[in-house]
Symmetry: D2
Subunit: 135 residues, 4 copies
C-alpha cells in the first residue's frame, strides 16, 4: 500500500491529477507491495532479474485534486512462469478513483524474457493466496 | 503526428523510456492530431467543452533509448455522442515501440459528461473517414 | 520533512535521480513543512492566497539511485511582506545529496503579488524561529 | 533552440507550467543546442564522456498556459577544463518567461570529473564565440 497526498506536481491545468501520473502511483504501490511480499526489486536486479511492464489498463473513475489524500492498493492476480499480473486501486476516503492492471514480465540483463527465479515465484504465489483470502 | 527525440527526462535507470511517459507522448500526439483535424482543445475549453481520458490501454512492444527518434501517430477510431476513441502508435524507424488506445469523454466545466458540440463531432468524423481510407 | 524511496520514475538512463526531480521533492517537502507550521496551502488557496516560486537555486552534491531512501528537510530562512525563502536539503543516510533554495511570493487569484495575510506570516515567523534555534 | 507547445502534462492546478518542468525544457534545449554545435551527447556517452548538472539557477518571470507556444534558447557562456556553463531563456512571443543557468561537469563512466576531450572543448568554444558575436 502506498499513501500520498496530491501535490501540485501531480495535477494539471484541469485542476485534477494528470492521467499518466496514476501510472506513477501504480509503480510506487507495486514496489512497496512486492517488498511486503519479501521481493525487493532493486536486490533482484543485482542478481540479474528485472521486471518490465508489458501492458497497462487504466480506468479513470473519479477526479482527485490538490491536497487530496490517496491510497493505492496493489495485489497480484495471476502468476505464470515468466509473467505476473498486478491489480491496482487508487482510493480517496475509501472510494475508488482509478483502477488498473499492469502485466509484468521477468527479463534478464539483456532484456530477454526469463523464467522467474523459484524464490521470486514462491513469494509471489504466497502473496497472491493472502490477497485471495482477504478480498 | 508528434516527432521527438528521447531525452534523459524520458528514461529511467533501466536505460529505456519509463512506461508512464508513453502516455505523455500520446497526449502530445492527440493534441497535434486533433489540431490537424481543425479541433483546438484549448479553444474548445474556452467555450466550455473539455475532453477527459476515461480509459487507457497501453502495450509496450519494444524499448526506446536516450537519443532515439520517435514518431507518435494518432487516429480516431470511434465516435459516439459524448465519447470518442483514439489509437496511438509510437514508432522508431518505422517499427512500433508501443501501441495504445485512449477512450475520451466530453465534459462541461463542472466535469459532467455532455454531448459533443456538432462542429466538434463533424470534424472528428471527417478525420476518422480520412484515417479509414489511408490505413 | 518528506521521506521517500527512489523509484524508477525518479531516475534516468544515467542510473541516478533526474535533476529536475529534486524540485519535485522540494515541493513535497515544503508542503509538509508548511503544514507542520499550521499552513495548509490548499486551504489558503480557497481563501484567495496562492504561493508561487519566483526563483530556484539547486546544488547537486551526490547521486541517489533506485531504491535509495531519501529525506528532504525544509526550513524557512527569510520572511518579508509578500515573499519568503525556503531552504531544502535532500539527504541519504544523513549525508546531503542536494541542497536548494526556493524564493516564494504570495499572489492573489489573478496572479498579482499581495501582502501575505497576518496569520500566514505569524505562523511562518514562528516556524522560522524554531528552525533558527534547532539548527 | 527547442520549440514546443504547452500540453496538459506541463501544467499544474494553478493553470500554468509547473516550475520543475522548465528544467525539462532546459534539457531538451541544451541537447539540441549542443547537437547544433556538433556535440551529440549520446555519442559522447558511448565514448565514456558523460555530462552532469552540478548547479541550477532558475528565475520565473512570467506564466505560460496550456496551448502556449514556447521557444527555449541555450548558449554556452563559460568553458573550463572539466566544466561549462549554459544559459537558457524560455520565451513566448519573444518575451522571456523564464531564464536559467545550468552548470555542467564532464565525468567518466564511474562518475568522476574528467577533463573534457579536446574535440568536445573545441566545439564548445566555437559555439561560445558564435553566441558572443550574435547576442
Amino acid at each position: 500500500m502506498y499513501r500520498t497526498r496530491v501535490y501540485y506536481q501531480d495535477t494539471d491545468a484541469g485542476g485534477v491529477v494528470y492521467y499518466a501520473n496514476y501510472l506513477k502511483l501504480f509503480e510506487k504501490s507495486w514496489f512497496e507491495y512486492l517488498l511486503s511480499c519479501g521481493i525487493s526489486l532493486p536486490e533482484w536486479e543485482e542478481q540479474g532479474t528485472y521486471v518490465l511492464v508489458k501492458r497497462v489498463e487504466l480506468d479513470l473513475l473519479d477526479k482527485s485534486r490538490y491536497g487530496d489524500e490517496l491510497e493505492t492498493h496493489t495485489t497480484v492476480t495471476d502468476v505464470k512462469n515468466a509473467q505476473f499480473t498486478l491489480a491496482h486501486v487508487v482510493s480517496r476516503d475509501g472510494k475508488p478513483v482509478t483502477r488498473g492492471q499492469t502485466f509484468m514480465v521477468c527479463v534478464d540483463g539483456t532484456g530477454k524474457p526469463k523464467r522467474m527465479p523459484e524464490d521470486f515465484k514462491t513469494r509471489l504465489l504466497a502473496c497472491q493466496s493472502i490477497s485471495a483470502t482477504t478480498t
